[in-house]
């Protein structure tokens, strides 16, 4: 009976994911084994990989620091509309990446609010949407809600007596952060950091909308596939990217209890 129950989902999954992915994995081999390492051996793709890693690491670090601070604040402060604010702040989790890219264009694009403002002030049209800064802000935008929601939950269940004892023994603010907050929030930090990093590495819609001058790996893959019909190269790059994201998430599930990721 269990076999009958599991058969449809196994068939579907094998037909539409496992076998196609197996084919994708095998594709670069047709062009020789060195095709698998093209992301490391070709300077153009290596650059794109390093760009993506740099962007994702910076975004992850800032997201964790800022999200941690906001999460702690929201978990401990009682004010009118707190629930509403938390749900507004976590709303962007369900926005497609293209919308986040568009938000940055609205702010810092050629006709953006900030460009108009700067122009009115006589500073010239200040546009930042299409370079590193625009991409960085956009990635921060879709990463922060995740960090805020996990840190709020983690900080709500944090044991406050430890902090009170530390303070009454004369610990400074920095000592409290270092010796109480960081260790208590470490599991949430590791799990959330891994998810934020993997999401940033694989994000496509945002960079696509911004048509950024700062090229990231998903955009390289897309260009190779659609513009140059270079299938085995695109396959090789997506294998490299998939390895980075799935290994990061595999580490994350040790610390997380998210029903899907963990």
């Amino acid at each position: 009976m269990l076999l009958v129950c599991i058969a449809p989902v196994v068939t579907f999954f094998c037909a539409f994911w496992l076998l196609p992915i197996a084919r994708l994995l095998a594709l670069p081999a047709e062009k020789g084994w060195e095709m698998y390492f093209v992301v490391l051996t070709n300077s153009k793709y290596l650059m794109s990989l390093l760009n993506t890693l740099l962007l994702s690491v910076l975004v992850t670090l800032l997201t964790l620091i800022v999200g941690g601070g906001v999460g702690i604040f929201l978990a401990r402060t009682e004010f009118l509309g707190r629930r509403l604010l938390i749900s507004l702040l976590t709303l962007p989790l369900s926005f497609p990446g293209v919308i986040v890219g568009f938000f940055i264009i609205l702010l810092g694009g050629r006709q953006g609010t900030i460009a108009n403002f700067a122009d009115d002030m006589g500073w010239g049209r200040w546009t930042f949407a299409y370079g590193f800064l625009g991409l960085f802000l956009a990635y921060l935008y879709f990463s922060l809600p995740r960090a805020i929601s996990s840190y709020t939950a983690a900080a709500e269940s944090m044991n406050s007596s430890l902090e009170e004892v530390a303070r009454s023994l004369g610990a400074s603010r920095l000592q409290v952060i270092r010796d109480v907050w960081i260790p208590e929030l470490a599991p949430a930090t590791l799990a959330c950091g891994a998810i934020v990093f993997a999401t940033a590495m694989g994000a496509f819609g945002t960079a696509f909308t911004l048509a950024s001058k700062f090229e990231v790996l998903p955009i390289s893959i897309y260009n190779e596939f659609t513009n140059y019909a270079n299938f085995s190269l695109a396959a090789s790059l997506s294998i490299a990217l998939g390895l980075v994201t799935s290994l990061t998430l595999a580490l994350a599930r040790r610390w997380s209890n998210d029903p899907v990721i963990g």
Partner: protein, 265 residues
């Protein structure tokens, strides 16, 4: 615990800044979809013209997205609920392994899954050019959310006991499944369905690769309008997305809190 620790003003300031950073662009995208001219701001007057333009240019993407999301939910309920039951009751190593495998489409970037699907089925023209191609991608991507949520509910100890009791009383499998298991797992099925629906409505990474000019979804249309239309139309279209998605999210939170009250956590 909320009382006796003094709040730091730095955290308050940080929270205000972050809230502005997250909320302002969303508000901006709504107001600018209603303004006559974005660069002149609200002084140029308000209009519904852009919303009408969106509806005539992209109206079909809204219905297509809702239809795909609904099919995605139905398909994943059919495949996922039975599958989740088998995974919850099986003790074999193979099933643990399969459950792990199922989550990989979430861990791997959507681009890779889309490439794989195109390489494998791109030559089957009828399939490639139909909405079914997009649907299959969405189902693969959202399946783990359904299966794992429902399997966790089937694994509850009291449900196992209840099922055994009814089996010893002579209830057949079909009867047990529909009169005990499915009703007991209904909140999980419902919350899984809402999650699948929202993910499908907003999915872009896979869909951009899988779509054809005749099989566009809402996010695909959004990307198209951002690249080729006036900024006011892009904003109005973004507002349409919010109108479709926001009620769903509230419903999702409502169902979650309902399930919380009923079963506790």
């Amino acid at each position: 615990m909320k009382s006796n620790i003094r709040q730091s003003p730095i955290l308050l300031l940080l929270t205000i800044l972050v809230s502005l950073f997250i909320i302002c662009p969303a508000l901006l995208s709504i107001t600018s979809g209603l303004e006559e001219n974005y660069s002149k701001g609200w002084k140029s007057g308000f209009t519904l013209r852009w919303l009408r333009d969106v509806w005539s240019n992209y109206g079909n993407t809204v219905t297509a997205s809702i239809a795909i999301a609904l099919c995605c939910v139905i398909g994943n309920v059919l495949l996922g609920v039975t599958g989740a039951y088998a995974l919850a009751r099986s003790k074999s190593k193979l099933s643990i392994w399969f459950e792990e495998l199922l989550t990989l489409p979430v861990a791997v970037p959507g681009l890779a899954t889309a490439l794989a699907l195109i390489l494998a089925y791109g030559q089957v023209r009828e399939f490639r050019q139909s909405f079914a191609f997009v649907l299959v991608g969405h189902m693969i991507f959202t399946l783990p959310f359904m299966v794992r949520t429902v399997a966790a509910s089937f694994r509850r100890q009291e449900l196992i006991a209840l099922e055994e009791a009814s089996a010893t009383l002579g209830a057949g499998f079909i009867e047990r499944f529909f009169s005990i298991l499915v009703p007991a797992a209904l909140p999980a099925i419902l919350s899984g369905s809402l999650m699948v629906f929202t993910l499908s409505i907003g999915e872009f990474n896979l869909t951009w690769m899988l779509h054809t000019p005749l099989t566009r979804t809402l996010p695909v249309g959004l990307a198209d309008s951002y690249a080729s239309m006036r900024i006011e139309i892009g904003s109005a279209y973004t507002m349409v997305f919010f109108i479709v998605v926001l009620p769903l999210l509230w419903l999702m939170q409502f169902v979650a809190s309902l399930a919380d009250k009923k079963y506790g956590t």
